[in-house]
């Protein structure tokens, strides 16, 4: 903190290394909005992007990604990663619609939690690198679901509650946004106010030190993975409500954007550093980027190139990681 004292006061509050990614990402959002609005003004003569209705609709779609990213952030802060998200999302959605009725939501969440706990146990107790273990769990979940559904989209439909949570509105604001907000509050609370949150950062910085300091490292890892799985399950259940049914590959579009959102938000991919506000801004950035590209009717090829370039360019501007060799 002593270094920032010499800078002008207003600037020092904004330009701490911790804030930098959030500020840059927010600036990027403004640029994306400006480009998109300029485009719609030129072609349609309206500022579609800036209308509250359109914004809320985009955020509603983005809330599914936001919930996945919230869970992913916990795991990335540990220095691990969860690659089982795609089929955790799909399996939760399929099981939730299959059970239906009042059990749908609890079943969806439990499936996610169960997958997350398996991930956590494998990583914490067998010490298998999370990258490969969650990959294997993803393959097993895919296998289970293909065997269960016969390779087709299941015929069962989402329950009214699931549909309400995904597409319903309270006072004109989508319910999904409230769910996302609740998840966000929960994650911020865990990270800031509970010992588990401090342990997560400690493990991400140096696991052996956290262990020697008496942190129950294995238990914390299982907890974080369990929560990450449960959030993927929640997202899958909502997604099934949004599209009224579950289908194969419904979670495929959530893995890489979730990781990208977390990293764009300034969380270090090797763990130990990051804040939730950044992840929130990262999700909004990715959602808006996607929606501007669809408005411009950008072909898939251009989308991929822009998507990749934005991630690289933003990371180049960040505090580019302390040199690992010291």
């Amino acid at each position: 903190m002593t270094t920032t004292d010499t800078m002008p006061k207003a600037k020092s509050r904004l330009w701490t290394p911790e804030n930098k990614p959030v500020v840059i990402a927010s600036g990027c959002i403004v640029v994306i909005l400006a480009i998109g609005t300029a485009y719609t003004l030129a072609t349609q003569g309206t500022a579609t992007l800036l209308s509250p209705g359109y914004m809320l609709q985009q955020l509603q779609v983005g809330s599914f990604l936001g919930i996945v990213a919230a869970g992913m952030m916990l795991v990335i802060l540990l220095g691990h990663i969860d690659l089982s998200v795609p089929w955790t999302v799909a399996a939760s959605a399929m099981m939730a619609t299959a059970f239906g009725g009042a059990a749908a939501l609890p079943v969806g969440l439990s499936v996610g939690l169960a997958v997350g706990l398996v991930n956590g146990l494998g990583v914490a107790y067998l010490r298998i690198p999370s990258m490969i273990f969650t990959l294997g769990v993803n393959a097993v979940m895919r296998g289970l679901m293909v065997a269960y559904t016969g390779g087709f989209a299941p015929q069962t439909a989402a329950t009214p509650l699931m549909q309400y949570l995904a597409v319903g509105k309270i006072l004109g604001i989508p319910v999904a946004l409230f769910v996302w907000a609740a998840v966000s509050v929960l994650v911020v609370f865990i990270l800031r106010k509970t010992p588990v949150g401090r342990y997560i950062f400690a493990i991400g910085n140096r696991e052996s030190a956290a262990y020697l300091a008496g942190a129950p490292t294995r238990w914390v890892i299982v907890f974080a993975f369990g929560l990450c799985g449960m959030m993927a399950g929640l997202s899958g259940t909502l997604l099934a409500g949004y599209s009224t049914k579950a289908y194969q590959g419904m979670g495929d579009a959530y893995l890489l954007p979730a990781i990208a959102a977390v990293v764009i938000g300034g969380t270090h991919i090797l763990g130990g550093r990051g804040r939730y506000l950044g992840t929130l801004v990262g999700v909004i950035l990715i959602v808006l980027l996607n929606s501007v590209l669809s408005i411009m009717q950008m072909p898939e090829a251009g989308r991929q190139v822009i998507y990749g370039s934005v991630i690289i360019l933003m990371l180049l501007f960040y505090d580019r990681g302390r040199q690992e060799r010291q």
């Binding site: 107790y125 067998l126 991919i269 990749g308």
Partner: protein
């Protein structure tokens, strides 16, 4: 003297235990497959299998190099796909044009890897996230080249490259159209299997023995130690990614010859990337870096594919295949990890 030699041998054996294990597993599965195949141990089966494994083997080798460094390359599938779509435009016309096409395709693969390396070294972005982003860019370029699947590949070339040596001679009229007596003992060898040996012997082996190659291992074992020893860290990192891109490019070219088309298929690229990681792990390379070889990854990829071959033979419900493959993958990595349960000092768990 004899005592020293004996201990040398035991060290070599201990160091190559994972490699020997994976080769043994492969031979077990493959012999089992052939003895249950109606036309087992025949050239036709070898050719078919060699064609099915080649692209994955190349991508697995491509993945090995960054993993040895303690990194990960999530763009190998995308590089393979990009070169696949490029080759589907270039591999036709006069022999000179085809040779030119081959060179351009190989250079493109290496260039993609070089870009990855530069982003990692000079951009100081973690390999996993850097290659995630560049992978998206390569995939976008592949989609520009082939918005829809298709392509125009020289028919003779595609035929001979995916067959045995006899067909090369017969098609281009060498060695009395392949009937020469001295040629018969080797005529049955599948071309892709030979290509694989050539790549392993003349690209991987020299690299792994060079200073740059040893530096890649040293970086994976301990980057600060490698830096303190004055090893060329930046050069080795860029070289590792470039070599990975080259291998992925070879896989992409082969996929083009095998399918006679280019296809910018995003799920397929993702599947290749994920299978490449699995093959590397099964092949005995540590994801933490510093330990393993690309040769192990070759057999890791072969094991993965041979398991699927066996499913075909035993007529297992296709719907159960993904489940079996997942369980095998998960089981393989878990068995390797069981040794941690015997560790007495918990601190040894944290590297």
């Amino acid at each position: 003297m004899s005592h020293t030699r004996k201990s040398d041998l035991s060290i070599i054996l201990r160091q190559s235990a994972p490699l020997i294990t994976v080769i043994a597993i492969f031979l077990l599965f493959y012999i089992f497959y052939n003895s249950n195949h109606p036309r087992g141990f025949s050239t036709a089966v070898y050719i078919q299998n060699a064609n099915e494994v080649f692209a994955l083997v190349m991508v697995a080798m491509a993945q090995t190099v960054p993993v040895l460094m303690g990194g990960l390359d999530l763009s190998v599938g995308a590089v393979m796909t990009l070169v696949n779509t490029l080759a589907s435009h270039l591999l036709n016309g006069s022999p000179l044009e085809i040779v030119f096409g081959f060179i351009v395709c190989l250079l493109t693969g290496a260039l993609c890897g070089f870009v990855n390396g530069c982003v990692v070294v000079y951009g100081r972005i973690q390999p996993i996230i850097a290659t995630l982003a560049t992978g998206a860019i390569f995939m976008g370029l592949a989609l520009f080249l082939r918005p829809t699947p298709g392509g125009d590949v020289d028919g003779d070339l595609a035929w001979v490259m995916t067959n045995d040596l006899y067909e090369i001679a017969a098609t281009y009229g060498f060695f009395d159209n392949g009937e020469a007596a001295w040629f018969q003992p080797v005529a049955w060898l599948p071309v892709p299997a030979l290509l694989l040996v050539v790549v392993a012997l003349f690209v991987w082996m020299p690299f792994s023995r060079s200073v740059t190659g040893r530096t890649v291992y040293a970086i994976g074992s301990g980057e600060s130690a490698a830096y303190m020893s004055g090893l060329p860290i930046d050069r080795a990192k860029i070289a590792a990614f470039t070599l990975g891109g080259f291998f992925a490019g070879v896989g992409g070219i082969y996929l083009t010859l095998q399918t006679s088309s280019g296809n910018a298929d995003i799920p397929q690229a993702g599947a290749y990337t994920l299978n490449s990681i699995a093959a590397v792990v099964i092949g005995g390379t540590s994801l933490l870096g510093g330990v393993g070889t690309a040769i192990g990854s070759i057999f890791g990829a072969l094991v993965l594919r041979t398991i699927s071959f066996n499913f075909r033979i035993f007529d297992i419900d296709p719907l159960l295949q993904p489940l079996f493959e997942g369980v095998v993958l998960l089981g393989a990595v878990s068995i390797g990890a069981l040794s941690v349960l015997r560790i007495k000092n918990t601190l040894e768990l944290f590297r």
